[in-house]
Symmetry: C2
Subunit: 156 residues, 2 copies
DNA sequence: CTAAATTGCGCAATCC
DNA sequence: GGGATTGCGCAATTTA
Protein backbone atom coordinates (compact mmCIF):
# COMPACT_ATOMS: atom_id res chain seq x y z
CA UNK A 1 0.00 0.00 0.00
CA UNK A 2 2.40 2.56 1.14
CA UNK A 3 5.01 1.12 -1.13
CA UNK A 4 3.97 0.75 -4.76
CA UNK A 5 7.28 1.66 -6.28
CA UNK A 6 8.61 -1.32 -8.11
CA UNK A 7 7.51 -1.75 -11.70
CA UNK A 8 6.07 -5.02 -10.64
CA UNK A 9 6.63 -7.39 -13.46
CA UNK A 10 3.39 -9.22 -13.67
CA UNK A 11 4.46 -12.63 -14.60
CA UNK A 12 2.25 -13.76 -17.38
CA UNK A 13 2.81 -17.35 -18.08
CA UNK A 14 3.12 -19.40 -15.03
CA UNK A 15 3.41 -22.94 -15.86
CA UNK A 16 0.73 -24.41 -17.99
CA UNK A 17 -0.10 -27.09 -15.53
CA UNK A 18 -3.59 -27.41 -14.32
CA UNK A 19 -3.76 -27.94 -10.65
CA UNK A 20 -6.27 -29.51 -8.43
CA UNK A 21 -7.49 -27.37 -5.63
CA UNK A 22 -8.92 -28.74 -2.50
CA UNK A 23 -11.38 -25.91 -2.63
CA UNK A 24 -13.50 -27.04 0.25
CA UNK A 25 -14.86 -23.52 0.37
CA UNK A 26 -16.34 -24.24 3.71
CA UNK A 27 -14.41 -23.14 6.75
CA UNK A 28 -16.63 -20.43 8.07
CA UNK A 29 -14.30 -19.05 10.66
CA UNK A 30 -10.68 -19.63 9.94
CA UNK A 31 -8.83 -22.42 8.27
CA UNK A 32 -9.69 -25.68 9.92
CA UNK A 33 -11.36 -26.81 6.74
CA UNK A 34 -8.25 -28.51 5.65
CA UNK A 35 -8.16 -30.16 8.99
CA UNK A 36 -11.47 -31.76 8.37
CA UNK A 37 -9.63 -34.86 7.41
CA UNK A 38 -11.00 -34.86 3.94
CA UNK A 39 -7.87 -33.83 2.27
CA UNK A 40 -8.43 -34.32 -1.37
CA UNK A 41 -5.26 -35.57 -2.79
CA UNK A 42 -3.94 -33.10 -5.27
CA UNK A 43 -2.97 -35.79 -7.66
CA UNK A 44 -3.07 -34.55 -11.18
CA UNK A 45 -5.55 -36.53 -13.13
CA UNK A 46 -4.27 -37.38 -16.57
CA UNK A 47 -7.51 -36.15 -18.03
CA UNK A 48 -8.82 -39.28 -19.54
CA UNK A 49 -9.73 -38.76 -23.18
CA UNK A 50 -12.79 -40.89 -23.01
CA UNK A 51 -14.18 -38.87 -20.16
CA UNK A 52 -13.34 -35.45 -21.47
CA UNK A 53 -15.06 -33.93 -24.42
CA UNK A 54 -11.97 -34.44 -26.46
CA UNK A 55 -8.46 -33.20 -26.32
CA UNK A 56 -6.53 -35.69 -24.35
CA UNK A 57 -3.29 -34.49 -22.86
CA UNK A 58 -2.74 -30.75 -22.91
CA UNK A 59 0.04 -29.18 -24.95
CA UNK A 60 2.49 -30.92 -22.70
CA UNK A 61 4.10 -27.62 -21.98
CA UNK A 62 5.00 -28.29 -18.42
CA UNK A 63 8.52 -27.45 -17.47
CA UNK A 64 8.06 -27.85 -13.78
CA UNK A 65 5.59 -30.49 -12.84
CA UNK A 66 7.36 -30.54 -9.53
CA UNK A 67 6.00 -28.42 -6.70
CA UNK A 68 4.74 -31.54 -5.04
CA UNK A 69 1.27 -30.76 -3.94
CA UNK A 70 1.41 -33.75 -1.73
CA UNK A 71 4.30 -32.41 0.25
CA UNK A 72 3.53 -31.76 3.83
CA UNK A 73 5.60 -28.64 3.66
CA UNK A 74 3.70 -27.42 0.65
CA UNK A 75 0.45 -27.53 2.50
CA UNK A 76 2.01 -25.71 5.38
CA UNK A 77 3.30 -22.99 3.15
CA UNK A 78 -0.06 -22.66 1.49
CA UNK A 79 -1.82 -22.41 4.77
CA UNK A 80 0.56 -19.79 6.02
CA UNK A 81 0.16 -17.82 2.85
CA UNK A 82 -3.57 -18.05 3.00
CA UNK A 83 -3.42 -16.65 6.46
CA UNK A 84 -1.14 -13.86 5.39
CA UNK A 85 -3.43 -13.10 2.52
CA UNK A 86 -6.44 -12.88 4.72
CA UNK A 87 -4.60 -10.63 7.11
CA UNK A 88 -3.39 -8.38 4.36
CA UNK A 89 -6.84 -8.08 2.90
CA UNK A 90 -8.37 -7.28 6.21
CA UNK A 91 -5.86 -4.55 6.70
CA UNK A 92 -6.52 -3.19 3.27
CA UNK A 93 -10.21 -3.13 3.88
CA UNK A 94 -9.76 -1.52 7.23
CA UNK A 95 -7.60 1.14 5.73
CA UNK A 96 -10.20 1.89 3.12
CA UNK A 97 -12.81 2.27 5.80
CA UNK A 98 -10.54 4.49 7.82
CA UNK A 99 -9.96 6.68 4.82
CA UNK A 100 -13.69 6.98 4.27
CA UNK A 101 -14.11 7.86 7.90
CA UNK A 102 -11.44 10.49 7.54
CA UNK A 103 -13.36 12.00 4.67
CA UNK A 104 -16.43 12.27 6.82
CA UNK A 105 -14.53 13.86 9.64
CA UNK A 106 -12.87 16.34 7.36
CA UNK A 107 -16.20 17.22 5.85
CA UNK A 108 -17.63 17.94 9.27
CA UNK A 109 -14.62 19.99 10.19
CA UNK A 110 -15.02 21.91 7.01
CA UNK A 111 -18.58 22.79 7.77
CA UNK A 112 -17.59 23.87 11.22
CA UNK A 113 -14.91 26.12 9.82
CA UNK A 114 -17.22 27.59 7.24
CA UNK A 115 -19.75 28.38 9.90
CA UNK A 116 -17.11 30.09 11.93
CA UNK A 117 -16.04 32.10 8.94
CA UNK A 118 -19.57 33.17 8.36
CA UNK A 119 -19.86 34.29 11.95
CA UNK A 120 -16.62 36.21 11.93
CA UNK A 121 -17.56 37.87 8.68
CA UNK A 122 -20.81 39.00 10.17
CA UNK A 123 -19.10 40.42 13.18
CA UNK A 124 -16.64 42.25 11.03
CA UNK A 125 -19.40 43.63 8.93
CA UNK A 126 -21.18 45.01 11.95
CA UNK A 127 -18.09 46.62 13.32
CA UNK A 128 -17.26 48.18 10.01
CA UNK A 129 -20.73 49.59 9.76
CA UNK A 130 -20.32 51.10 13.18
CA UNK A 131 -17.12 52.71 12.08
CA UNK A 132 -18.72 54.10 9.01
CA UNK A 133 -21.55 55.54 11.02
CA UNK A 134 -19.11 57.07 13.38
CA UNK A 135 -17.12 58.52 10.56
CA UNK A 136 -20.22 60.17 9.28
CA UNK A 137 -20.96 61.65 12.63
CA UNK A 138 -17.47 63.01 12.79
CA UNK A 139 -17.80 64.55 9.41
CA UNK A 140 -21.01 66.17 10.51
CA UNK A 141 -19.30 67.66 13.50
CA UNK A 142 -16.26 68.95 11.72
CA UNK A 143 -18.23 70.52 8.97
CA UNK A 144 -21.42 71.81 10.40
CA UNK A 145 -23.98 71.44 7.74
CA UNK A 146 -25.81 74.44 6.46
CA UNK A 147 -29.10 72.82 7.08
CA UNK A 148 -30.47 71.47 10.32
CA UNK A 149 -30.76 67.97 9.11
CA UNK A 150 -28.84 66.60 12.02
CA UNK A 151 -31.24 66.18 14.89
CA UNK A 152 -28.53 66.38 17.41
CA UNK A 153 -24.96 65.24 17.76
CA UNK A 154 -25.12 61.96 19.61
CA UNK A 155 -22.11 62.86 21.69
CA UNK A 156 -18.70 64.40 21.44
CA UNK B 1 -19.91 -0.30 0.23
CA UNK B 2 -22.94 1.84 0.31
CA UNK B 3 -25.17 -1.11 0.88
CA UNK B 4 -24.08 -3.54 3.57
CA UNK B 5 -27.48 -4.19 5.04
CA UNK B 6 -28.33 -7.82 4.68
CA UNK B 7 -27.17 -10.10 7.45
CA UNK B 8 -25.17 -11.85 4.80
CA UNK B 9 -25.34 -15.49 5.61
CA UNK B 10 -21.88 -16.56 4.83
CA UNK B 11 -22.39 -19.96 3.47
CA UNK B 12 -20.04 -22.14 5.39
CA UNK B 13 -20.13 -25.55 3.91
CA UNK B 14 -20.52 -25.55 0.25
CA UNK B 15 -20.27 -28.93 -1.04
CA UNK B 16 -17.33 -30.86 0.15
CA UNK B 17 -16.27 -31.73 -3.31
CA UNK B 18 -12.85 -30.82 -4.43
CA UNK B 19 -12.82 -29.43 -7.87
CA UNK B 20 -10.23 -29.37 -10.50
CA UNK B 21 -9.34 -26.00 -11.74
CA UNK B 22 -7.85 -25.37 -15.07
CA UNK B 23 -5.79 -22.71 -13.42
CA UNK B 24 -3.60 -22.00 -16.38
CA UNK B 25 -2.58 -18.82 -14.55
CA UNK B 26 -1.06 -17.54 -17.67
CA UNK B 27 -3.16 -15.23 -19.80
CA UNK B 28 -1.27 -12.03 -19.38
CA UNK B 29 -3.76 -9.73 -20.95
CA UNK B 30 -7.24 -11.08 -20.76
CA UNK B 31 -8.75 -14.47 -20.82
CA UNK B 32 -7.77 -16.67 -23.73
CA UNK B 33 -5.94 -18.96 -21.41
CA UNK B 34 -8.86 -21.25 -21.16
CA UNK B 35 -9.00 -21.34 -24.88
CA UNK B 36 -5.65 -22.98 -25.03
CA UNK B 37 -7.45 -26.21 -25.57
CA UNK B 38 -6.21 -27.81 -22.44
CA UNK B 39 -9.46 -28.47 -20.74
CA UNK B 40 -8.88 -30.33 -17.57
CA UNK B 41 -11.61 -32.81 -17.04
CA UNK B 42 -13.60 -32.02 -13.97
CA UNK B 43 -13.68 -35.58 -12.84
CA UNK B 44 -13.82 -35.73 -9.13
CA UNK B 45 -11.11 -37.84 -7.76
CA UNK B 46 -12.55 -40.15 -5.15
CA UNK B 47 -9.77 -39.33 -2.75
CA UNK B 48 -8.34 -42.72 -2.28
CA UNK B 49 -8.17 -43.63 1.38
CA UNK B 50 -4.76 -45.09 1.06
CA UNK B 51 -3.46 -41.93 -0.45
CA UNK B 52 -5.13 -39.44 1.85
CA UNK B 53 -4.18 -39.06 5.46
CA UNK B 54 -7.11 -41.17 6.50
CA UNK B 55 -10.80 -40.68 6.43
CA UNK B 56 -11.99 -42.24 3.27
CA UNK B 57 -15.00 -40.70 1.69
CA UNK B 58 -16.10 -37.47 3.30
CA UNK B 59 -19.62 -37.19 4.65
CA UNK B 60 -20.69 -38.00 1.13
CA UNK B 61 -22.71 -34.89 1.09
CA UNK B 62 -22.48 -34.10 -2.54
CA UNK B 63 -25.81 -33.27 -4.00
CA UNK B 64 -24.53 -31.72 -7.15
CA UNK B 65 -21.43 -33.25 -8.57
CA UNK B 66 -22.74 -31.95 -11.84
CA UNK B 67 -21.71 -28.48 -12.95
CA UNK B 68 -20.15 -29.89 -16.05
CA UNK B 69 -16.88 -28.14 -16.41
CA UNK B 70 -16.78 -29.36 -19.95
CA UNK B 71 -19.85 -27.48 -20.90
CA UNK B 72 -19.29 -24.80 -23.43
CA UNK B 73 -21.73 -22.65 -21.60
CA UNK B 74 -19.91 -23.15 -18.35
CA UNK B 75 -16.74 -21.76 -19.80
CA UNK B 76 -18.62 -18.84 -21.18
CA UNK B 77 -20.18 -18.09 -17.84
CA UNK B 78 -16.84 -18.36 -16.14
CA UNK B 79 -15.26 -16.05 -18.63
CA UNK B 80 -17.99 -13.51 -18.24
CA UNK B 81 -17.73 -13.67 -14.51
CA UNK B 82 -14.00 -13.32 -14.61
CA UNK B 83 -14.45 -10.23 -16.65
CA UNK B 84 -17.04 -8.88 -14.27
CA UNK B 85 -14.78 -9.58 -11.37
CA UNK B 86 -11.92 -7.75 -12.92
CA UNK B 87 -14.16 -4.81 -13.66
CA UNK B 88 -15.55 -4.74 -10.18
CA UNK B 89 -12.12 -4.85 -8.66
CA UNK B 90 -10.86 -2.09 -10.83
CA UNK B 91 -13.76 0.04 -9.78
CA UNK B 92 -13.17 -0.75 -6.19
CA UNK B 93 -9.56 0.20 -6.46
CA UNK B 94 -10.41 3.37 -8.30
CA UNK B 95 -12.89 4.29 -5.67
CA UNK B 96 -10.33 3.81 -2.96
CA UNK B 97 -7.96 6.08 -4.77
CA UNK B 98 -10.64 8.67 -5.27
CA UNK B 99 -11.44 8.59 -1.61
CA UNK B 100 -7.82 9.12 -0.77
CA UNK B 101 -7.74 12.01 -3.20
CA UNK B 102 -10.78 13.43 -1.54
CA UNK B 103 -9.01 13.34 1.77
CA UNK B 104 -6.17 15.34 0.35
CA UNK B 105 -8.48 17.90 -1.17
CA UNK B 106 -10.43 18.27 2.01
CA UNK B 107 -7.25 18.71 3.96
CA UNK B 108 -6.17 21.51 1.67
CA UNK B 109 -9.55 23.14 1.89
CA UNK B 110 -9.33 22.92 5.64
CA UNK B 111 -6.05 24.69 5.71
CA UNK B 112 -7.40 27.38 3.46
CA UNK B 113 -10.37 27.89 5.73
CA UNK B 114 -8.23 27.98 8.81
CA UNK B 115 -6.04 30.61 7.27
CA UNK B 116 -9.06 32.68 6.44
CA UNK B 117 -10.32 32.35 9.97
CA UNK B 118 -7.01 33.50 11.27
CA UNK B 119 -7.13 36.53 9.02
CA UNK B 120 -10.65 37.46 9.94
CA UNK B 121 -9.86 37.04 13.60
CA UNK B 122 -6.97 39.39 13.24
CA UNK B 123 -9.06 41.98 11.50
CA UNK B 124 -11.70 41.73 14.15
CA UNK B 125 -9.13 42.09 16.84
CA UNK B 126 -7.79 45.27 15.28
CA UNK B 127 -11.19 46.80 14.94
CA UNK B 128 -12.07 45.96 18.49
CA UNK B 129 -8.91 47.54 19.72
CA UNK B 130 -9.77 50.63 17.82
CA UNK B 131 -13.11 50.70 19.47
CA UNK B 132 -11.58 50.29 22.87
CA UNK B 133 -9.14 53.06 22.24
CA UNK B 134 -11.91 55.26 21.10
CA UNK B 135 -13.92 54.47 24.16
CA UNK B 136 -11.01 55.49 26.33
CA UNK B 137 -10.66 58.71 24.52
CA UNK B 138 -14.27 59.38 25.08
CA UNK B 139 -13.89 58.59 28.71
CA UNK B 140 -10.95 60.94 28.90
CA UNK B 141 -12.98 63.67 27.42
CA UNK B 142 -15.92 63.20 29.63
CA UNK B 143 -13.89 62.79 32.72
CA UNK B 144 -10.62 64.65 32.43
CA UNK B 145 -7.96 62.66 34.18
CA UNK B 146 -6.05 64.08 37.04
CA UNK B 147 -2.74 63.31 35.49
CA UNK B 148 -1.42 64.41 32.10
CA UNK B 149 -0.99 60.97 30.73
CA UNK B 150 -3.00 61.70 27.68
CA UNK B 151 -0.80 63.46 25.15
CA UNK B 152 -3.68 65.20 23.54
CA UNK B 153 -7.24 64.43 22.70
CA UNK B 154 -7.10 63.31 19.16
CA UNK B 155 -10.27 65.02 18.29
CA UNK B 156 -13.81 65.53 19.47
C1' DC C 1 -35.40 -16.73 -14.21
C1' DT C 2 -31.06 -14.75 -16.55
C1' DA C 3 -27.04 -11.86 -16.22
C1' DA C 4 -24.09 -8.70 -14.04
C1' DA C 5 -21.92 -7.21 -9.70
C1' DT C 6 -19.93 -8.35 -5.18
C1' DT C 7 -17.54 -10.94 -2.06
C1' DG C 8 -14.72 -14.52 0.28
C1' DC C 9 -11.19 -17.54 -0.64
C1' DG C 10 -7.22 -20.11 -2.42
C1' DC C 11 -3.06 -20.25 -5.52
C1' DA C 12 1.25 -18.60 -7.26
C1' DA C 13 4.52 -15.00 -8.34
C1' DT C 14 6.85 -11.36 -6.51
C1' DC C 15 8.33 -8.12 -3.21
C1' DC C 16 11.05 -7.22 0.73
C1' DG D 1 13.76 -18.51 4.24
C1' DG D 2 9.31 -16.21 5.22
C1' DG D 3 5.68 -12.78 5.82
C1' DA D 4 3.24 -9.20 2.89
C1' DT D 5 1.16 -7.90 -1.63
C1' DT D 6 -1.07 -8.53 -5.68
C1' DG D 7 -3.28 -10.42 -10.01
C1' DC D 8 -6.27 -13.92 -11.13
C1' DG D 9 -9.77 -17.50 -11.25
C1' DC D 10 -13.71 -20.06 -8.95
C1' DA D 11 -18.09 -20.25 -6.75
C1' DA D 12 -21.81 -18.47 -3.85
C1' DT D 13 -24.68 -14.68 -3.14
C1' DT D 14 -26.65 -10.45 -3.98
C1' DT D 15 -28.63 -6.95 -7.22
C1' DA D 16 -30.92 -5.38 -11.01
Amino acid sequence: MSRPPQPKLITAEHNGVSVIQSQAHAAAASNAASLAGLQQVPQLVPADPSAAGGKAAPPSKMKKPSVDKDSEEYRQRRERNNLAVKKSRMRSKQKAMDTQQRVNELKEENERLEAKIKLLSKELSVLKDLFLEHAHNLADNVQPPADATSPAPNHC
